[in-house]
Amino acid sequence: MSDVSQPVAHPPVTDWVNDFDHTDPQWTEDPFPIWDELRAASPVVHTERFLGCYMPTTYEAVRAIANDTEHFSSRRIIVRDVRPELTTRNAAPPITSDPPVHKPAKQLLLPPFTPDAMKKLEPRVRDICNELIDGFIADGQVDAAARYTKHIPVRAIAHMLGIPESDSDLFINWIHMILELGIKDEGVLMQAVQEMSGYFRAHIEERRSKPTDDLISYLMNARDKEGQPLEESHVLGSLRLLLIAGIDTTWSAIGSSLWHLARTPADRERLIAEPELIPVAVEELLRAYSPVTMAREVVKETTISGCPVKAGNMVLLSFPAANRDPDMFPDADKVVIDRRENRHAAFGLGIHRCIGSNLARMEMQVALEEWLKWVPDFRLDPAGTVTWSQGTVRGPRQLPFLLGKAK
């Protein structure tokens, strides 16, 4: 029997420019030189894999596609081996919506995620970080992905949704099924979608008799322009989206940040000496190690940065690669911890700007502040291995650290 926890392997890539594959182990391990090679070849490259897929390699081409909802649809937002059927059962508005239905669906979700709303959540996140740190600080070593970065966003979003933080493992497994295994196995993808819908349906049912002050009740009580409640499929789709989008993305961003700081004592020391620089550092770490790659589907033929783009293909919309474009960012391949000008696209560009960007930023800032306060000295454990997630969201899934000053 095959091991279902591991994605099916694709044939290895030998020609990155004409046959790229973002699930290749080489990409997972170290994508940066690959992106440089692709960018040097063309602003838009193409692969026959995934039933045909383009990838813009420059910031300019990524921006052009993100802003062009006429030729590029969000109805499919993950590049997979197959093109799953489009139904309301697996739609997740507003991320899978195009204009004109996108805007009302998005506006509905925005108020609970403003910077002011996040300020109210900050003390809870700080407590979560401290509880986690207390759990390993005396051990002298830790897998920071398994014991720290993974739990902060999952517990924060569970808190906002009003579902038990103790169900975290369930959520993390669904995300793995949808974002990693689901790239190559549609059955696993649909199973996870159904399980999540069932889970949320039960929570919705509970709230019919006992309304709560959380995002589930908020969506149940939301009304559209005509004053009508949302379809159940819309509520379920948005809840699935909030859970999926809010977890391994920020988990990855916090993990990559700690990975960088573990390997870069100078940056670590600077942030400890100047904690007010942490918000600026967060932006640079988001740029250099952007976790999220999105996708679009070409619905109408067009030209991007001089390259013809044909309908029916997917587009791997790599915000991470855009953020490494040296034409946009001087010293793009270096982490400049106090970079002042930073129009990075880690949260996307255009109408699909990440709804949770203020939440993610707050979580990253608090997670780094608390970590550096309690664990000022740490480094990669040479006896351990750092592993990275594959596909749509990139971040460390094993992050073995030794804590304390090197002896």
Partner: protein, 69 residues
């Protein structure tokens, strides 16, 4: 003598990244959806000129204009 500055957010371009509000809270405000607009008529009080330019150069949507008057 330095010119007086005024900031303006193009509401059609702003997508609510809220970088301007984080970097120059005196010069920008957010609405209930988190989208930005300039505070008051956008006039930049003396001493905050650097923040105005900083907000402009960090807006991912290129939605901010700094006008020298």
């Amino acid at each position: 003598m330095t010119a007086r500055l005024r900031v303006h957010v193009d509401p059609d371009k702003c997508q609510g990244h809220a970088r301007c509000k984080a970097l120059a809270p005196e010069l920008f405000e957010l609405d209930e959806f988190g989208n930005a607009h300039e505070a008051g008529d956008g006039t930049v009080p003396p001493g905050l000129e650097d923040k105005a330019w900083l907000a402009k150069s960090n807006c991912p949507e290129i939605a901010i204009d700094v006008i020298e008057e």
